[in-house]
Structure formats: C-alpha cells, structure tokens
Subunit: 382 residues, 2 copies
Amino acid sequence: MVKKETTKITPWEVEGKVDYDKLIRKFGTSPLDQELVKRIERNAGASHLFLRRGIFFSHRDLNLVMDDYENGKGFFLYTGRGPSGPMHIGHIIPFIMTKWFQERFKVNVYIELTDDEKFLNDEKITLDYSRKWSYENALDIIALGFDPDKTFIFQDTDYIKNIYPMAIKVAKKINFSLVKAVFGFRNDTNIGMIFYPAIQIVPTFFEKKRCLIPAAIDQDPYWRIQRDIAEGFGYYKAAAIHNRFLPPLTGLEGKMSASIPETAIYLHDDEKTVRQKIMKYAFSGGQATVELHRKLGGNPDVDVSFQWLKYLFEPDDSKIKKIEEEYRSGNLLTGELKEILIEKINQFLEKHRSEREKAKEKINEFTQNGILAQQMRNNIFE
Amino acid sequence: MVKKETTKITPWEVEGKVDYDKLIRKFGTSPLDQELVKRIERNAGASHLFLRRGIFFSHRDLNLVMDDYENGKGFFLYTGRGPSGPMHIGHIIPFIMTKWFQERFKVNVYIELTDDEKFLNDEKITLDYSRKWSYENALDIIALGFDPDKTFIFQDTDYIKNIYPMAIKVAKKINFSLVKAVFGFRNDTNIGMIFYPAIQIVPTFFEKKRCLIPAAIDQDPYWRIQRDIAEGFGYYKAAAIHNRFLPPLTGLEGKMSASIPETAIYLHDDEKTVRQKIMKYAFSGGQATVELHRKLGGNPDVDVSFQWLKYLFEPDDSKIKKIEEEYRSGNLLTGELKEILIEKINQFLEKHRSEREKAKEKINEFTQNGILAQQMRNNIFE
C-alpha cells in the first residue's frame, strides 16, 4: 500500500494510518475508559473482549445509556450495513458488539440495510446489486445470533413507506450548507445522496428511549446531525460506541477494503483460501530469519496475525497474554502464530457457514414475522 | 396589489403581470397554434373552449402525442396538486382539461398529491396539514368527473414505497448544480426540497407511452429535467400543455393567491360569498358612471368578470361574442356583466358541491379499488 500522509475519514472512505486519539479529538467524542467499561460489565453481568481490550475506544453518552438502564428507562440498539458486496471479518465487529448488548441487556435491535445509499453513492452499483447484497449480508448478520423476536432487519427501499414521513421532517431541519460541511458534499453530488442522511437518522427515533449505536467512527457525522435535532422532535440524542478498524491483513494502515481482496478475509472464504491469505499476506512483526527471530523476538504491536487474535479471535486473556509474550520473546515463530490464527478463523467460519444456512430459514422472522418485525411493519414513523 | 416591474415564475411563486409570449421564449416551449388545436379537435371528435380560446397557450411535443394517438401507440395523462389549502376556481383549469382529454381519448390519468413538497416548502405547513388537504383536494378533483377505473390519485407519503426506487434512480442523474440552476435552490434550501424533484418526475414513467402533462407553465422546470434524462431510462420525454393563470378577481396581474382570499373564488364559497366577492372585488373595465359607460363603452380586455366568463364559465362562442360586443358598446353595464358571472359560478358550484359529496363515497376507487388504482397498488416502479 502506498503510504498516505493524511488521514481521511468519512462514511465513504478511510485512508492512511488511523490515530485514534486524534479521532476522538476531531469528532469530539469521549474515550471509553476503564471505569465506564467496569460499569457496563457490572450491569451486563459479563465482560466482552471488545470492551476490556479497547477495541471499542470511543463513545458518546454511553454513561447516560447506563444511567437509563440502571433507573429502568431502558435503551435500544441501532446499527446497519451498506450492502455493497460480501462481508469480511472487519464488518462484523459492530454486529458482534450489538448482539452482545442485546443478549446481556435484553433490548431491541434495529439493523438498517442501506441499499439506497450504496446505489446512490457508487456509479457502478445498480439497485438490483445492492438489493441482492442486502439479502446476502442479512444472512451473515443473522448468523451472528441475534434474537429473532427482538431484532428488526430492514432494507431502506422496502421499508421506506414507514420511515419517509419522519425522514422529510428530519430533512426539513437540514440544509445543503450543513451536509456540505459535515459530509463534504459538493455541487456535483447527486440529490439522492444529499437527501440520504435524513433516511439514516430516522431509526434513532424508533423508540422513545435512548438509542445506542455500535459502529465504526466513520458513521459519526450522521449522529452529530441527529444530536443537533433530536430533542426538537422530543427524542433523545443518539448515543454511540465506536470501534477501531480491524487492520487489513497487509499491515496496520487504513481499513480492509472490499476492492482489495488480499487485505481481508471474507465470511465466505473457505479453509484453503483463509490459509493461503494469512500465509501470503498477513503482515508479520517477526524477524527476517528464524535465527534472528529467536534472538531478537517478534513485534506483536505491528503483527497483523497477533492483532486479529487480540481484536477478535482469542477471547481468553491469559492465552492472548501468553501468545504476546512468547512472540515478543522469540519463542513463537511467525508461522506458528499464523497457524493459531488460521485455526481460530476457520473454526469461526465453519460455525458461521452452518448458522448462515439456518439463517435462510429464519430471515423472515427478522424482516416480517418476529414479534418486533411484526410491530415495525405496522408502524409509520412521523 | 403593488405593481411589480419584473415577472417571477417558479413552481412556488408567480408575481407581476404575465407576458405569455415571453414565457414561451423563456421556457423554450412552442405556442399552441390553431393548426394543432384543429388536429386535436379532429381526433377528439369535439372542441374545448380552453383550446379554441387559447387558455392553453403553449406546449411541448403535443404534436408527437397526437402522432402516437393516430398511429395507435396511445398516451397517458399526468397532473397534480400541491395540497397546501382549499382549492379555488383557478386551480381546476388543468384538471378540467385533463378530464376532457381522458374522456375524449379514453386514456389513463395519474394525479399526484404532493403532501411532502408542500410540507417541505413552507415552514408553517405541518405534514398533518398537507395530508388533510390532500384528502379535501382529492374530493374537489374527483367531483370534476374523472373515470374511477382509469384514474389513480395518490399522495406522495402514502405511495412512496412504489415510487422511491425509481426516484433514487432519477436522483442519481441530478446534482445540486442542476437543481440550483433550474429551481433556484440555495445552500440554505432543505435537503428534502433538494431531493423532491426526483419524486415529481417518477410518474412520467408510469407507462411506456408518452406522458402528457396539462399544468400551468410554472411546473415546467420539472419536465425540462425529465426531458433530459427520460430517454436514458428507456422512456419518452414528457409532453405538456400549459394554461394561462386565471386572473385574480382584483385585476389582471399575477395569479390568484390562497393567501389573499379576495383575489379568488373558492370551490367552497357559498352563493352569498360569491356574489359579495364579485360585486366588491371583480376588477371592472367599465366607466366611472352609467352615463359615461353608455357613451364610451366598457373594456372587456381588462374586465375580470368578462375574462372569467371567457376563460371558464361561458363555453358558447356566440354568447361570449355577444357579451363582449354588448359590453364594448356600452349596452351591457358592469353590474349586469357581474350578474351573468355570478349566476354562472353559482350554477357551477352548486353542481360541484353535490358531486363533491358523492366523491366521499367514491374516493377509494381512485386511490385503492378502481381498475387502475388496484393495478398501481401492485406496481413498484424502478
């Protein structure tokens, strides 16, 4: 990858090396500190590696979400997916977090598939294409284990009648200057994209409770606008928790890209492909030769295989600590570290494939027939 | 009314004295000449005062619509109403013309009630308000005699699911620069209004035939954009016929305004109100005294009562000619001319009130259950 001097973060692009402290300052969010993590764990009655290892590093109003939970008001979860192609390992981080919050706090989850946005944002993407991927991505999301009676998955073009009245109320509060400033829209931006932020904001008003959005920080511009207007409509400002981007296989810069397949492991990659990609592309923090490695040790901080284990695939703290120490000391070779990761990923993907097959039978519960879905099909938001 | 030096015509405002030849040049449309009128009358097997008296004065591609009719391809009609309040006499001109074309050519009519646009365009208008007026205006429109099996009346926020996919396809072809140039949108225009033109364009694609739009010329900017993109989607460029604005009671400048009640007769005005308004406000081309009038004669060219008879209420050519001659000669006094108009309007409104009551029973045929409406409820346009 070509080294970039600057970092660019919008909902449509991430480039360069990500400085997370800088992002917190830039977006004006709060660091997700250990005190808050402990409070969540206390309420959840459990701990999650994403929280205790700082994979989710930033938040807005998560403390208020915990207040609301503790005093019985409750909250709800909202996240989404831009269905522009197959999902990779990096895409599922917010969904895993969302599912954990649902499970631990017994709350509703709303998942938006933004087929309109992906169509509008890319000259090459047809509406048929973004709809096909809406279905495929929904299967991957359902496979992660959401509660079919507490989760509503909807596709914008299909659910539009229920959200359009509220969307135009939101749109009436937002002018071109604002979306130009917040999203970098220009005079040559199409009028569908210009309107689209209103659509993405509506689900934050699906319940008269605080909405918690687990998502990558690149989605924050939407919530900044939402937070300016929510109270005027009698709703809460959206709360959010932001995860780091899972580093691409090829090194710690940027995020995995669907357009550069060697940077990512896809949820549909078979065992052989996983092995080949990790062996060939996973950037190593090891030394040039086994002798040097034994002598000088590896650097887990830049080693993508280690980072992936830490981010996602090795939840056992004592095990991850041991792997780190062994690698740093030189006892564990890069090839051995990669073998650990390959096995973990392939275990995960094997289960995922099986759950994904079952999801084909269950998808209607999430979109139409489950308790929450039925209720949502009858609601017009305005 | 304050005299304006300039004329301003956008879909949202008409000010000043309207120079129709200038409008034809400005909008780049064609004058609706007598040759074309004769051709329409031949095909229709009938004549309409709006055509032979030049009330519809301009068109786009109406000759091609007649080609399509003559060679059996057919065409369809599309018009609409911005439901921002009660309808007055001036509002029904395009609908009367539309109904006549439907009746004579046996074609489908699509009528859009733009509740979203009216809400988005006016800070004071709520969505509930523009929806209430959608219903009320639909009754007035139905009362004009449309065919319930060939007419589909829809409200944008209600029909949005069926048109949104096509709307975003349209929107993807239109950028902010274009709507800025065409509609005068600015950086402080809200993003709902910026998107809205895409919504209004979709119904021109409801059939794979040429779409004829009877409307005032202020709606032309939408069709200019439509004509730039239609063929790229495999549809026809929209054809249109444009009517003059019915002059306000108070004089020949501008158009009737819902916000200045004395300029207009409303469809709900009772007999007494009609009489009072005409007597008090109808601008007269008569002389200051009866004696002077008998001596010098009146000027029907600036007399609003005469103009209204000519525009709308006296279809008999020999009668309108006689009235004109008598008024010009001074035989017919202003008071007598006003009496003729009052009687005509009250006859029309009496029938209208009775048809409007019946429309309450029939509205579902136009929106849901008629042959065309049923078909449209099952169509998703994309």
